[in-house]
Amino acid sequence: MKYLEDFQNPELAGGLLADIRATVTRPWALMEVCGGQTHTIIRHGIDQLLPKEVELIHGPGCPVCVTPLEVIDRALAIAARPGVVFCSFGDMLRVPGTDRDLFRVRGEGGDVRVVYSPLDALRIARENPDREVVFFGIGFETTAPPNAMAVVQAKKQGVRNFSMLVSHVRVPPAIEAIMNSPDCRVQGFLAAGHVCSVMGTAEYPALAERHRVPIVVTGFEPLDILEGIRRTVRQLERGEHTVENAYARAVRPEGNPAALAVLEDVFEVTDRSWRGIGVIPRSGWQLSPRYREFDAEQRFDVAGIRTREPEQCRAGEVLQGLLKPDQCEAFGTTCTPRTPLGATMVSSEGACAAYYLYRRLSTPGVPREASPVG
């Protein structure tokens, strides 16, 4: 489609690559924050085209990967209740909780439905007044406004059987936390373009300044990624650390004011635990008191569920770029995409899952996951 294919055109990649190659003089470690960007990089093999000096570290920008285990377990507990219709984006169905996933809950009789939009969950609630309909409200700042709107509409329409299990996270505190990590190797960031479409770029200059790190707002298509890399490398080579917008067609400095107003109304900032990383202060949103009645955690009294990550899993270090997945002992043995220990092995853009595929490619001895279907 227009403005999508244009930025997937391999004919135009040559100039960008050439410019990067011409610019780079020494090794740089960049982090693409967003899982969508990771997906593009792997899907198109972008990393294989870059000069060896440019290393890409996959960031924690995938809600599937970072939704904390205890929130997953709460989701599973709610979804398993009779009388509940549990609605979720498709991504979350295979994410393992402590002992099962949403697929398994559905197999055991839970009414779990995949929706495309939070408004679909609201419609299901209107159509099933005798059921409690719970929407799994996960995601970054891009998904938060749509989810917030579902709650606003539920209130406006008086849909009392609708509620949301909220686990929204915010990108800037995560960048801050990564940079504060003593082992941090990241020297430049490709910021998540769609997050910035909503939030604008006001939060970044202070970050860039404080950590003396270039931050380039980057889109999601292959050429966008290359342009983000090109601009970051150029800053690094020049010793600069400013905020640049390489995704100007969709990002304005002020973001989307209408969305920001609704976020302000519906949510309030809270500390949030990131799966495999730990608690990051002020890194999440929860429903504000004005909308607390739609909070599924309260309605179903699951707030008490506390869990621990499997000790073997080192996804936190992986997500922070401190460890390569194949340096994890569980990798490829007890932890595979079929039996993931950490969320980074689940998501198609998770760093561990990506490495698993590649190691299999370079190491033919590793067994296939399965064999032909009859």
Partner: protein
């Protein structure tokens, strides 16, 4: 994260008290909520995520970016073919 794609507004209407649009994504047409871009007009492009238009797409800016990429392409000749230099996967030949 945050799969969002540009689409073109074809039609605007009201449903369940919300501003909605029919949006064309290159031959694929879907209903989209306009509550966050209430002044979006028919013919304009917007970035759409999970059924919501989240930001107007600036066509002029898009064009400028693509022009820049094309310009950079001209530099390519000075520095040689980057395909050659790429790390390369296990497959060397291009098919067909």
């Amino acid at each position: 994260m945050c799969l969002a794609v540009p689409g073109r507004v074809m039609e605007i209407m009201e449903r369940d008290g919300a501003r909605m649009a029919v949006v064309d994504f290159g031959g694929v047409v879907k209903d989209v909520c306009l509550e966050y871009l209430p002044d979006l007009e028919v013919g304009e492009y917007a970035i759409v995520h999970v059924g919501f238009a989240l930001q107007r797409l600036d066509e002029e800016s898009a064009r400028r970016t693509l022009d820049l990429f094309a310009e950079l392409g001209l530099l390519q000749e000075e520095f040689g073919d980057p395909w050659e230099a790429a790390a390369g996967g296990p497959m060397k030949e291009e098919l067909q």
